[in-house]
Amino acid sequence: MYSEKVIDHFTNPRNVGEIENANGVGQVGNAKCGDIMRISMVVENDVIKDIKFKTFGCGAAVATSSMVTEMVKGKSVNEALDISNAAVAEALGGLPEAKLHCSNLAADAVHEAIKDYIQKKTKV
C-alpha cells in the first residue's frame, strides 16, 4: 500500500514538534477525514531556518508532514510557496489513490504558516 519512503517518514518522522518562538504558524484541518496538522517555523530574511510539525492523521498524513518540512527547510518562502501537494506526494514515491487527499494537508499547512509569517511581518 505505502511506499518504503512513506513508511520511513512515518516511522522516523523528521522535524516533529512545536517551535516555541516561531514567527510563522499554520494549522489546517482536513475537512474530508477530520485530520489536523500544525506547522511552526522560524523565518529569517524570508528564509525558513527551522520548521516543525505536529499531525493527527493517518500514515500518509504523517509522512507528508515530515516530507514537506524536509523539502522547505532552508528554502526561501517564495520557493516554499511553489511546492505543491502533488510534489510532496511525488517526493514520497507516490501515495495510494485513496490517500491522495492527505497530501493536500501538508503543503497547505506550510502555506498557511508562511501567510502567518508575512502577515506578522507587515504588521510590524
Binding site: 513508511i7 516511522t11 516533529v16 485530520d35 496538522m37 499531525t55 492523521g57 492527505c102
Partner: protein
C-alpha cells in the same frame, strides 16, 4: 519478528484440519455434485454432511440451510429476497444503525427502489433497544433485520426478544450472526429467527462461503438465476470444497466453543485491564462483561489517529483494525462508533483487537508492552495532545 494476529473479526486462518479436508476435494473428489456419476455422487454426499454440520451448530434442519458465497451475499439474499417477495404485503423495513454494511447498504439500495426504511438508533454501549424496534413497527412492516453481535464493538443484541415481537406481528426477522457464530450459542428456534446469516471465514473455515438459514415455509426471491442448485434459491455450481470446509469448521466450533470462550474472555479482560492501567485517556467502546463478544476489545485512544496506530503496531508485528476514516476507503470514520455518540475525533482513534483460538498470554503481554510506547510516540506527534494537557 514476532507476528501477532489480533484481527480475527476481519478473518481467521483456516484450521489445518479444514484445509486438509478441502485438499481432498480439490484434487481427488472433484466431481460436480449435480452429476450422475460416482465422481459427483461422492461430492453430493459430502455436501449433505456439511449441511448437517452447519445446521446442527445453529439448531436448524439441514433443509433450511442455503449455501452462498459468504456473509455479504447471504445478507443481501435475505433482505432483497424477502423485500421482493413481500412487496405486495408491505414495503417497510426496519434495521439498526450499527449493522454491517452488507445490511445497511442493502437497506439503502431498497430505500432508493420503492421501499421505506427505518434505522433505529443504539445507546452509548452499542445496544439496540427492544422498545425502539417495537415503536418503529408499522402495519406495512415486512422485515426486521438486527445483528446478533456487532463486528466492531462486540455488543450482543436482544435478538430473541425482538424475534418474539416480530413473530407476534407476522413480520419476518433476519439476524446477521456472522460475528457470533462459534462464539455464542445460537438456536434459531429460541431466537425466533426466520432468516440467519453466517459466514465461514470468521470461524476458521475458508473465505468465499457462507450460508443463509431460511426457516421452513419462508419464501424469498433468489438473487441469481441459473442451474437451480440449492433448491433454486441459489444457483451456480456448488463450491463443494468450500462448503465441505465450512461444515468441518462448524463441527470444530461446536466441539470447542465452550472451552475456547473461557480462554478468550480471560485474555480479552487481561488486554482491557492492561491497557486501561497503562494508558490514560482511553475509552472502552461497547459494553464490558457478558453483553460483549468473548473475543472483542475495542477502545478509543484520545489524541491519536487509528491508521497511524495500526501502522505502528504492524511495524512491531501486531495486526489489529480501526474504525478510523483513513482505513475505511470512504472518508467517514466508523458508522458504528458515530452511532454510539462518539465524536469524529474520538472515533478516529479507535482500535479493535479481536482475539482467536491461537492467541497466547505471551502475545497479550507483548501487546501490553508495545502499545503504550506507540501511543506515547504518536501523542507526542499530535497537535491535539499538548493542548489538552
Amino acid at each position: 519478528m514476532k507476528r501477532i494476529y489480533l484481527d480475527h473479526s476481519a478473518t481467521t486462518p483456516v484450521d489445518p484440519q479444514v484445509a486438509e479436508l478441502m485438499m481432498v476435494y480439490f484434487t481427488e473428489y472433484y466431481g460436480n455434485p449435480s452429476s450422475v456419476h460416482s465422481f459427483g455422487r461422492q461430492v453430493h454426499k459430502a455436501i449433505d454432511e456439511a449441511r448437517e454440520k452447519v445446521a446442527s451448530l445453529i439448531g436448524a434442519n439441514p433443509s433450511e440451510i442455503t449455501f452462498t458465497s459468504g456473509g455479504t451475499e447471504a445478507d443481501n439474499l435475505a433482505i432483497q429476497g424477502a423485500a421482493r417477495i413481500r412487496a405486495k404485503k408491505g414495503t417497510h423495513l426496519i434495521t439498526s444503525a450499527i449493522e454491517h454494511h452488507a445490511v445497511l447498504d442493502t437497506f439503502k439500495y431498497l430505500a432508493k427502489n420503492g421501499y421505506e426504511i427505518t434505522i433505529v438508533p443504539v445507546d452509548e454501549e452499542g445496544l439496540v433497544s427492544v422498545q425502539d424496534i417495537e415503536k418503529a413497527i408499522r402495519p406495512d412492516t415486512i422485515l426486521i433485520s438486527i445483528m446478533h453481535a456487532n463486528n466492531e464493538v462486540g455488543s450482543i443484541q436482544p435478538v430473541a426478544e425482538i424475534g418474539r415481537i416480530a413473530r407476534e406481528k407476522g413480520i419476518l426477522f433476519h439476524v446477521d450472526a456472522v460475528q457470533s457464530l462459534g462464539k455464542l450459542p445460537i438456536d434459531v428456534n429460541q431466537m425466533n429467527v426466520d432468516l440467519l446469516t453466517i459466514s465461514s471465514h470468521k470461524i476458521y473455515g475458508p473465505k468465499g462461503v457462507g450460508a443463509l438459514y431460511i426457516r421452513k415455509g419462508v419464501r424469498i426471491s433468489p438473487l441469481v438465476f441459473g442451474g437451480s442448485q440449492e433448491r433454486k434459491v441459489r444457483s451456480g455450481t456448488e463450491n463443494a470444497p468450500g462448503i465441505i470446509g465450512f461444515g468441518k469448521a462448524c463441527e470444530l466450533a461446536g466441539q470447542r466453543m465452550a472451552d475456547e470462550n473461557i480462554e478468550l474472555v480471560r485474555l480479552r479482560d487481561k488486554l482491557f485491564d492492561g491497557i486501561l492501567a497503562s494508558i490514560d485517556r482511553v475509552k472502552v467502546n461497547g459494553p464490558r462483561g457478558a453483553k460483549r463478544l468473548p473475543n472483542n476489545v475495542n477502545i478509543s485512544i484520545n489524541f491519536i489517529e487509528g491508521e497511524s496506530l495500526l501502522l505502528s503496531l504492524d511495524l512491531v508485528g501486531i495486526a489489529g483494525s480501526s474504525g478510523s476514516a483513513c482505513t475505511s476507503g470512504s472518508l467517514d470514520p466508523s458508522h458504528v462508533l458515530l452511532a454510539m455518540g462518539l465524536s469524529h475525533e474520538v472515533a478516529h482513534g479507535s482500535l479493535r483487537l479481536s482475539l482467536g483460538r491461537q492467541n497466547t498470554d505471551e502475545e497479550i503481554d507483548y501487546v501490553l508492552q508495545e502499545l503504550p510506547k506507540i501511543v506515547q510516540r504518536l501523542r507526542e506527534m499530535s497537535p491535539l495532545y499538548h493542548k489538552a494537557i
